[in-house]
């Protein structure tokens, strides 16, 4: 086992495709079948999956030493006030995580 940073990895086709469709939506370019709400107009009608029910919870992906990764999971309702407050306090002091999006949750 080793730590192996990866380089020159191509973005997966699905990510590129979705980004193009999203850009087309923003620019009003016809050709995307998606409505602004993200509801698929051409999706099979039997497909009732929604974003909410499909959203997976990666709380459990946080790796824990006991392998249980369960101390703070299942995820509780995000407390935006608390999180944004701490994030705000951190800004300007240190950037703890460049890809951090604490305030987003």
């Amino acid at each position: 086992m080793k730590i192996e940073p990866k380089h020159d990895i191509m973005r997966p086709a699905y990510a590129i495709g979705v980004a193009i469709m999203a850009a087309a939506l923003l620019t009003g370019c016809p050709g995307s079948s998606l409505s602004l709400e993200g509801e698929a107009t051409t999706a099979p009608t039997s497909e009732s999956q929604t974003r909410d029910t499909d959203a997976t919870d990666s709380t459990y992906d946080v790796l824990r030493t006991d392998g249980e990764c369960a101390d703070d999971s299942p995820e509780l309702m995000p407390d935006k006030t608390e999180e944004s407050k701490v994030t705000l306090e951190l800004s300007g002091i240190v950037s703890p995580c460049p890809n951090d999006e604490t305030s987003k949750d």
Binding site: G38, A40, S58, D79, E82
Partner: protein
């Protein structure tokens, strides 16, 4: 604010990969009350996750906490959410009713076909039969439940079978993680077996998706969602920001991984949170040096300060196992994503993209 209540240090199981000491230390009702008060004292929501040990050994405390939280929520107008992480062996119809009544999500620790390899009773007995019965009871009740599966190296060849088994029992959501810590040793050979199992799972998930099945499997489905939606997979860590752990004695910690380590203590439910210390800890969540130029950096849990500190001793270092595991998962998630996207683009977006 959100709190994880470590209701008891006691557990009725002796899982071979568990590193937690089993002690007869339980939270008092006074500490539970103060914890509930603390949860409602800050923020725009209040949440409690019941944890242990085995939290169902202290059902009385759970009922007490729920009653108090309900009253506080009514008084303050602050919404309340709750969850439990349990080994399931003490679940009964009565508790399932309580869970449903309180919209409590049940995180069921269940390893599927691997269950009896590691998850044993205190006298070394098997638990799979009990878990199967409990699972059927949960499914029949309609309670909100997610299976949390730990994969030890000794049994990882059974992972694919376990995923099918959990699916066939009727669960709609399963999360798996490799066993970490001092009680397990992952070898390169075991990791190869795990990769093969993930290949099989990837094919299986594709098959289910094409049939319209809504079964969700973390981490593969998550990686797709996170990639499409620009979500940082480490966001749930953030030592001390997202939620705090309350030890049985009322002391506060950024995560249950740090319980009883005095240098990590963030106060007490009686005296409140040491905000200055809390802020210091949040700075320990950052991308470790070896990961900074990795293309997968933003799709990996590398900035989980908790995991890095526990596994390597430093917030600036990721463990080789975590790196290997993240790479194997992302690679397969992308294969799955590409195949599902090709099949039906609109449905794919609807299924995986978060607003």
């Amino acid at each position: 604010m959100n709190l994880t209540l470590y209701l008891t240090e006691n557990c009725n199981l002796r899982c071979s990969y568990c590193i937690r000491e089993k002690c007869p230390n339980d939270m008092t009702s006074d500490t539970v009350r103060k914890s509930v008060d603390l949860a409602f004292s800050k923020g725009d929501t209040a949440g409690i996750c019941f944890f242990g040990g085995e939290p169902l050994l202290k059902k009385d405390l759970i009922c007490y906490a729920l009653d108090l939280a309900k009253k506080r929520s009514e008084e303050t107008g602050i919404p309340f959410s709750c969850k439990i992480t349990t080994n399931g062996t003490l679940l009964d119809e009565e508790f399932l009713e309580l869970a449903k009544k309180n919209n409590m999500q049940i995180g069921l620790s269940f390893d599927g076909l691997m269950q009896d390899d590691c998850r044993k009773t205190a006298d070394g007995g098997p638990t799979s039969e009990t878990l199967e019965k409990v699972s059927k009871m949960i499914i029949a009740s309609g309670a909100d439940a997610v299976v949390m599966c730990v994969v030890p190296p000794c049994s990882c060849g059974k992972l694919f079978g376990s995923v099918k088994y959990i699916h066939d029992l009727g669960f709609k959501h399963m999360i798996c993680n490799p066993a970490y810590g001092s009680k397990v040793t992952w070898t390169d050979e075991a990791l190869e077996v795990l990769k093969e199992q993930f290949d099989l799972i990837t094919d299986y998930l594709k098959e289910l998706y094409l049939k319209g099945d809504k079964f969700r499997f973390a981490p593969l489905h998550n990686k797709i969602t996170e990639n499409l939606s620009g979500i940082n997979p480490s966001r749930y860590c953030h030592l001390g920001i997202r939620q705090l752990a309350v030890a049985y004695d009322g002391n506060l910690y950024p995560c249950t991984s740090f319980l009883y380590k005095s240098e990590w203590c963030l106060g007490n439910v009686s005296d409140g949170v040491d905000e200055k210390r809390r802020l210091e800890m949040t700075k320990l969540c950052f991308t470790p040096s070896p990961c900074k130029d990795c293309d997968l950096s933003k799709r990996c849990t590398n900035s989980c300060g908790c995991a890095n500190i526990m596994n390597t001793g430093s917030p600036d270092m990721i463990s080789p196992l975590q790196c290997e595991y993240e790479r194997l998962v992302i690679e397969r998630a992308d294969r799955l994503g590409d195949e599902l996207y090709k099949y039906d683009k609109d449905r794919f977006i609807k299924s995986f993209r978060r607003a």
